[in-house]
Amino acid sequence: MNILKSREMILTAAIVVLLGLVATRFPAFIAPSNLVAVFNDTSPLILLAIGQMIVILTKCIDLSVAANLALTGMVCAMINVAAPGVPVVVIIAVAIGLGAVLGAFNGVLVWKLDIPPIVVTLGTMTIYRGIIFLISDGKWVNSHEMSPAFKAFPRAEFLGLPMLSWIAILMTVIFFTIITRTTLGRSFYAVGGNPHAAVYTGINVGKSQFWAFTFSGALAGLVGYLWVSRYAVAYVDIALGFELDVVAACVIGGIAISGGIGSIGGAVLGALFLGVIKNALPVVNISPFWQMAISGSAIIIAIAVNTRAGRTKGRIILKKAEATQ
């Protein structure tokens, strides 16, 4: 627990240093209003990183989150176009429900058929994208077709913060409670830490993984609506490749890809780290084309640091045997 705490401290320090560096040249970057904007811009990533973190905790990976997001977003937009009178609350419920179903589909394949999660989610990633094309006929749903209430919700301010940010904060709190205060939450750690031992303690490994995928899907669905209404556009390719940023946020946040290690705080900080970089690049006059390479390098550096820190003494014997080759 001490190591985890310190890892989160290191990450927090890294974010502060990063903000400080940018602020030395552009003080306006750390003005409260801009920090709020950066947080708001990072909120979708935070929400998805929380879901992905739970999935990674159980030794799985969910590469279909971005496609799930895009499909749910398109469905929400089309409902809005077909029936502009449907209240936003209903649309959000539909988004969470549909996202959960899409996530549960991954979960069932992993649980009942024992198919490796990477294969399942690589497959559903393309299937979900394809379905968007089928239902939308490849057409865009544009801003002027959406109802004002549909577009206004994520921007509506409450105590100086937009709803989008509030939802990210709310979900962070909810999932922090689930992860640390419920049996299901503890079972995620048990399943990822040692699946065999988890079985002997009476935990259904597959079922825990199923719930992890369902949570991840539900969050992706929620972000689907928020994304489409915030950018006021829905088309086949929205958030294309965003799943990599989500995995990157988790890896940077210290969530072990081999499962069982990680915290909600880590996932949120990992997402914020990437969010600050993304928002700082245009300010310090670096072309946005650099962002992809920077995310990639961040993943590699983070995983190298994590693995070094997490290496146990038992491995050293093997390392010596390997070194003498």
């Binding site: 198919i115 294969v119 690589l122 393309t126 394809g130 890809i257 390479a293 693995t307």
Partner: protein, 327 residues
């Protein structure tokens, strides 16, 4: 929870029975079925030139799939292959701006592939990092470098004879790419099934620690496999760039998915330890013909990807559903 049930049969199957029931023969039956269905579905399918064109759908992916098959059998994976293509193609485009010979361009492409593969290999074998995260990272990094170099621009102006690799024909309708595909299939088939190196690959995939203690240089073998996968991505980059005649940073986007699908469809266990090159070859034909047949029926590319995704999940799910149903 992966729980493998091992049943020891009281009578060994005859070689003939074994062959009939193998994954490869099942796949071959599917391939023949699709071929027949295609020839009924479209009157344009059974045409030598059309069939030759159809091979371009899979040859480049299959070249990478051969090396990827070995890598997956050894229990690792490389998701950065499509990004290696982008970086390699960008390097070739950059070199081509200086009026160099075609040979220099090709060598540049291949060496960038090898360097990228070696970079993955060092991170996985020397630093001991999990290959799936490493290659998700390098997937962003390699393509990211292409974006830094090219932005929203494109490289054109490849020399005239460079077009041969992607557009040239060796004999009648037999394209250069198809010949290369066949040659590489034979090389990788021999490497995996007939050499000590191939046996080592299987051994590592089944039990890496056991392989290490039986004197196999596990890390060296894995290193070579990552470099080979990088090299094959370089070869595919030469063919693809030559066929398209230009380089954009989005070249080959999402191809890693199709390569992995091809390997898994070919009967390679995604968890490592088993699989064969003939299976991958047949899987390449199946995927190529499915996409080409759907193309003749005017099915858009994105809808085809539904078929590819369903194929990927379906081929793994069906045998398991069948086993569950029989219980």
């Amino acid at each position: 929870m992966s729980h493998v049930e091992r049943i020891i049969p009281d009578r060994l199957q005859s070689p003939f029975q074994k062959r009939i029931k193998s994954w490869e023969s099942l796949l071959l039956a599917v391939a023949i079925g699709i071929f027949i269905a295609n020839s009924f579905a479209s009157p344009y399918f059974l045409n030598a030139w059309n069939l030759s064109d159809a091979t371009f759908n899979f040859t480049e992916k299959a070249m990478i799939a051969f090396a990827m098959a070995l890598l997956i059998v050894a229990g690792e994976i490389d998701l950065s292959v499509a990004s290696i293509i982008a970086l390699s193609s960008t390097a070739m485009g950059a070199v081509a701006q200086f009026d160099v010979s075609t040979l220099t361009i090709v060598l540049t492409g291949l060496s960038v592939g090898v360097i990228c593969g070696a970079f993955n290999a060092i991170l996985v074998t020397v630093m001991g990092l999990p290959s799936i995260v490493v290659t998700i990272g390098t997937m962003s990094l390699f393509r990211g470098i292409s974006y830094i170099v090219l932005g929203d621009q494109a490289f054109r102006g490849y020399p005239r004879d460079f077009a041969f690799f992607g557009q040239g024909y060796v004999f009648w309708v037999i394209s250069f790419e198809f010949v290369l595909f066949v040659v590489l299939a034979v090389i990788y088939g021999v490497l995996l099934h007939k050499t000590n190196f191939g046996r080592a690959v299987y051994a590592i995939g089944n039990n890496a620690t056991g392989a290490l203690f039986s004197g196999i240089r596990v890390n060296r073998v894995k290193f070579i496999l990552f470099v080979l996968t990088g090299l094959m991505s370089g070869v595919a980059a030469v063919c693809l760039t030559s066929r398209l005649g230009s380089t954009r940073p989005s070249i080959g986007l999402g191809m890693e998915l199709e390569v992995v699908t091809m390997v898994v469809l070919g009967g390679v266990n995604i968890l490592g330890g088993s699989g064969s090159i003939p299976g991958v070859v047949i899987a390449a034909f199946v995927m190529g013909m499915v996409t080409f047949g759907l193309g003749l029926l005017n099915v858009p590319g994105i809808v085809m990807s539904i078929f590819i995704g369903a194929l990927l999940i379906g081929v793994i799910a069906l045998p398991r559903l069948w086993a569950m149903w029989r219980k």
